[in-house]
Amino acid sequence: MTAPVLSLENISKTFGALIATSGLSLDVRAGEIHALIGPNGAGKTTLIQQIYGALSPDSGSIFLNGDDITSLSVPARVRKGIGRSFQISNVLTGFSVLENAIIAEQARRGHCFSFLSPAFSDASLIAGAEQLLDRVGLLARASQQVAALAHGERRMLELALALAGQPSLLLLDEPMAGAGIEDSQHMTQIIDQLRGKVAILLIEHDMDAVFRLADRITVLVEGQIIAVGTPDEISQNQHVKAAYLGDDS
């Protein structure tokens, strides 16, 4: 087995009396789509925030590709290879789709402290940005303003921005949230195409998408993992049925 891309070792996080993460350990392997599910308030987003660096755990360690990143800031973690989409879609409003991608592309190349060369007319940046948009099927919309995009297209753009940094780990926080059936299917298809190229940690409430996409599923309840396994194993698991899936059926 290859070394995991992401490795959480015994991390804990409390907010006052509320235990959001409780001695949790988890591995995300290279190239796998790993879904994180659990009822509302299970601590999924808190966990993502700790992996991302927006929150720091009270104890425990986080490793990315073998490096301890527990004390690194968000931008430092991004440069080490974490990409992220947010629960509420998060793109640069007031810019066009192509301009969004150009800014992401120049951020990856890491020379944003140039005061002379114009950004939006740089041929090599445009080429990189167009490639990025092509990956999520937005190239035809490149000249549109972000405000003119449909909800699903915004989600796609956000995914493109998250992929721009060529991350080794992609954190997707409810990418299907608020999307219609068609958008969900399109998103599922795009995420499926990323399998094997980048490790993905996916939080999602759409169980059809989760069971179609995930190589492994981790079930989180009250800040603790109650089960890890393949979709088949999880759907057979009695604890999971009782704690979570049982509520739905």
């Binding site: 968000v74 951020a107 140039s114 950004a119």
Partner: protein, 341 residues
């Protein structure tokens, strides 16, 4: 030549408000001919004042309009720039280039210190902390009895090599040259990778962080640059006024700069200078107009001035530049539809 024009946005696909900026700048360049022919030398003085405040507002606009940081203390940098001239002269240094160098250095360093501390906050706290630092500096200069304290100190116009600022129009064209320089600089910066990143931070700081960039670095650099531009304006202001007192950095001037920018058009290149023209012309002529129409109310010209500003802000989204752009679009649109029918 065509290449330069294209870079300046005068021809080609440049933004319309670039063209507006260069039109205004050219207007200032030709203005002395008008005042000479019409024999109105007083107007040159007003034009210099407009250009000086315009330059300072352009500096603040980098932070306020392009970076989304509402700094309520930029008058302090004008003051520091002006006092660099006053204090240098107090110690017998008359070289204007040296004054400008000191002003840039002093404002760069002060801007860095204030920026590092203030940019850790945002929103209303940032407004208050920048105002707080500006007030601190204001009272610092009030307390410096050596340099005139409250009353300020009168100074001579600086010496710029062979250019004698006491000759007619020399100071005018020095200020105009700086206006051109600052205009070109800002236009290039705003389109550069740095400028684009700064505007991205204004749009969505979280997303920029998620791209692996540290927003604070970009904000800080823009803050220091805008402080230095205001310092440059301040150094010239001192030579124009031949006098410097803490009044130049009173907090109301910080407000004035913000009003000028919002009036002209936030985050546009031409906005600050157009805002400065309208603001100072109103300030100059509203009282005169009232004096002839309603002599009893001449002192209360702000009663008209205030609502006028509110109207522009409410109905001219994007300030005067936005208004002008919409009018141009409408004219183009109506001529295009005439062509079709």
């Amino acid at each position: 030549m065509a290449g330069i024009l294209r870079i300046l946005g005068i021809i080609g696909s440049g933004m319309a408000h670039n063209r507006m900026l260069w039109l205004v700048v050219a207007g200032f360049g030709l203005f002395p001919i008008f005042t000479h022919v019409a024999d109105l030398p007083f107007w040159n003085d007003l034009a210099m004042r407009i250009m000086l405040l315009g330059i300072a507002a352009m500096g603040l606009n980098l932070v306020l309009g392009y970076g989304g940081m509402v700094s309520f203390g930029h008058a302090a940098f004008i003051g520091i720039g002006a006092y660099c001239v006053g204090i240098s002269q107090y110690y017998g240094l008359m070289d204007g280039w040296l004054h400008i160098l000191f002003a840039l250095l002093a404002c760069g360093i002060t801007g860095l210190i204030i920026g590092v501390l203030a940019l850790r906050t945002s929103g209303i706290y940032f407004i208050m902390i920048t105002l707080g630092f500006a007030q601190m500096l204001f009272f610092l200069f009030v307390s410096l009895e050596n340099f005139g304290g409250d009353d300020g100190m009168s100074i001579d116009r600086a010496e710029f090599g062979i250019i004698d600022l006491y000759e007619p129009l020399r100071l005018y064209f020095l200020i105009w040259g700086v206006l051109v320089l600052v205009g070109v600089m800002l236009m290039v910066i705003v389109r550069s990778r740095f400028g684009v990143t700064l505007q991205a931070i204004k749009s969505n700081e979280t997303r920029v962080e998620a791209m692996g960039l540290v927003p604070l670095h970009y904000k800080l650099v823009s803050y220091v640059m805008s402080a230095m531009i205001c310092g440059l304006a301040g150094a010239l202001f001192a030579s124009w006024q031949e006098y410097v007192s803490p009044d130049i950095m009173h907090w109301t001037r910080s407000g004035e700069l913000m009003i000028i920018i919002i009036l002209g058009g936030l985050g546009t290149l031409a906005g600050p200078i157009i805002g400065a023209i309208v603001f100072l012309l109103l300030e100059e002529f509203l009282p005169l107009m009232l004096e002839t129409l309603l002599p009893a109310y001449a002192e209360n010209w702000m009663i008209i001035f205030g609502p006028l500003l509110v109207l522009v802000v409410l109905f001219g989204r994007g300030g005067l530049v936005g208004l002008i752009n919409r009018i141009i679009d409408r004219l183009k649109g109506s001529s295009a539809s005439r062509g079709r029918s």
